[in-house]
């Protein structure tokens, strides 16, 4: 609760400053009420009366220092997101991406970002290309519209959920998302290119041993590729994030040991809806080297800040023009 209050103060500082006059007069600041209604896994619930849209500003950094060598392939990645509104309406998003990897472990992902997590893109969906070469320690974010290749800082490490506490301390575990990433040299923090230097605690979710369940789903073949499935169910107790009843988040994951990648996944969370990801048209074999190189007609830039500020400026001007 304390953490939530800190965060509320952090993000609401400017807003509260604006409403300080009203507070002085005895007015009460009304906070948005969140009604998260629990349901069975797979049930969909949208907590906002309207869908929240986002603007893609740019790539900040890339991470991953363990290249997958000797397993080249190309495929089409299809992601479908479905959200159910409180009034029974349904919002769906479908996006395709071309993904490939060569035998050296270099990867390329080309997609049009129409949605990210629970948020759809507000304006024109930007097309982006991510190229990653873990062995060389380089990564690029290509902007096909502007013909600019932004060289991204490449961090080393892994992101994972870390459980703190023990059964001895009341059987509760505080599960928060933690990173173990070695920042790129010359970068002060993980997102040093953006000047990040400080962090605040985020609301962790208190989970007991019984709240996290993982079960095997056996083996199944997708597009001619055998994969092993697991289902993880995380149940957040009532009151974890202000919810009146428990919230169940279910993740099904089918992993191919041959390709060393996930070929299909299905995530259901009443807060964000359902997301289904699958690889189709999987082609095993070496990929052209040119796919993993910056095209010669692109301008390479290493400083991420100016393009981001420029993008912000364009969005701001567009907003003012509305």
């Amino acid at each position: 609760m304390t953490t939530r209050l800190v965060l509320a103060a952090f993000f609401g500082m400017a807003a509260m400053a604006g409403s300080a006059k009203a507070q002085e007069a005895g007015a009460v600041v009304i906070h948005k009420e969140v009604h998260a209604i629990a349901g069975a896994p797979g049930d969909l619930m949208m907590v906002h009366p309207e869908p929240i849209t986002m603007d893609f500003l740019g790539a900040e950094m890339s991470f991953g220092d363990k290249p997958v060598k000797g397993a080249p392939y190309s495929a089409e990645a299809v992601t479908e997101t479905t959200q159910m509104l409180a009034d029974g309406n349904r919002i769906t998003h479908k996006s395709n991406a071309s993904v490939c990897r060569d035998s050296a472990g270099r990867t390329r992902r080309e997609e049009t970002i129409s949605a990210m997590g629970p948020w759809a893109t507000g304006g024109d969906a930007p097309k982006v290309i991510f190229i990653q070469d873990p062995a060389a320690g380089t990564a690029y974010h290509l902007d096909p519209q502007a013909h600019v290749a932004h060289k991204m800082p490449m961090g080393k490490g892994t992101f994972f959920f870390r459980q703190t506490g023990s059964a001895a301390s009341g059987g509760q575990k505080n599960m928060t998302f933690q990173r173990v990433v070695t920042p790129p040299s010359g970068v002060a923090e993980v997102s040093g290119a953006m000047g990040a230097v400080a962090t605040l605690a985020a609301p962790g979710t208190k989970l007991s041993e019984a709240d996290v369940k993982t079960e095997s789903l056996g083996k199944q073949t997708f597009e001619g590729v055998e994969a092993e499935g697991t289902r993880s169910t995380v149940t957040m107790a009532a009151g974890s994030i202000g919810n009146e009843m428990p919230i169940s988040s279910v993740t099904e994951r089918w992993y191919s040991a041959e390709l060393q990648t996930v070929v299909m996944s299905k995530r259901s969370d009443p807060r964000f809806g359902e997301t289904v990801y699958r690889l189709t048209n999987i082609q095993r074999g070496e990929q052209p080297a040119s796919l993993f190189e910056v095209p010669s007609d692109y301008t390479v830039t290493e400083n991420e800040l100016p393009p981001l500020n420029k993008k912000l400026q364009m969005i701001k001007q567009a907003d003012e023009g509305k």
Partner: protein, 215 residues
Amino acid sequence: MEPAAQGEAAAHAKTCTRCARRLANEQNLSAVMASAVREDSRRLAPAAVEQTLLAEFRKQHAGSNRQRTWSSRAGVGAIAAALIVAAIVGLRRAPEQPAPPIKQAEARVTLPESPVIATSAAVASKSHGRASQRKAPRKPASELLAAQREVMTDFIPIVYDPEPIERGQIVRIRLPRAALATFGIPVNEEHAEEAIRADVLLGEDGLARAVRFVK
């Protein structure tokens, strides 16, 4: 000191031992200083040295005058030439390019979004106004970078994926403040539509795993 006041002070010094001692010390100091001035006034440099110094000074002064005159004339000439060229070019181009409408001339330049944390230096600069901003020395790049520091939350999971994420990207997005409510963070309804920035952690599959909010 006026004679009347001087008389009063002398009379007081006769009755006050402390002031009498102080007066005597000051009179001694004045006498020593006057003696030193008298002695120094008799010490003069040889006439030959003075003549040499004067001749050298006049020589250098005349040279710098000539140089200044030449450079100022050249500067005036260059400016005049530039004005003539500009006038000719302007006259030639005037029929082809009509003057921009007033609306364009009044168009404002929108600055990039300012850093989110106001440093003490920035606050001080604002409080001193424009004059102090003009006088402020140019800050080194490291200071400017420090001024653009951001405060952010830890990553908050969007999905609870038990598998570690070994490869992926962190991208920056902009979204309404109302999005905070999804994560149990209270949102002021009056400002729910205001934009905030966030970093989204994408896995190798491009799916969003976690988000952190940036200020």
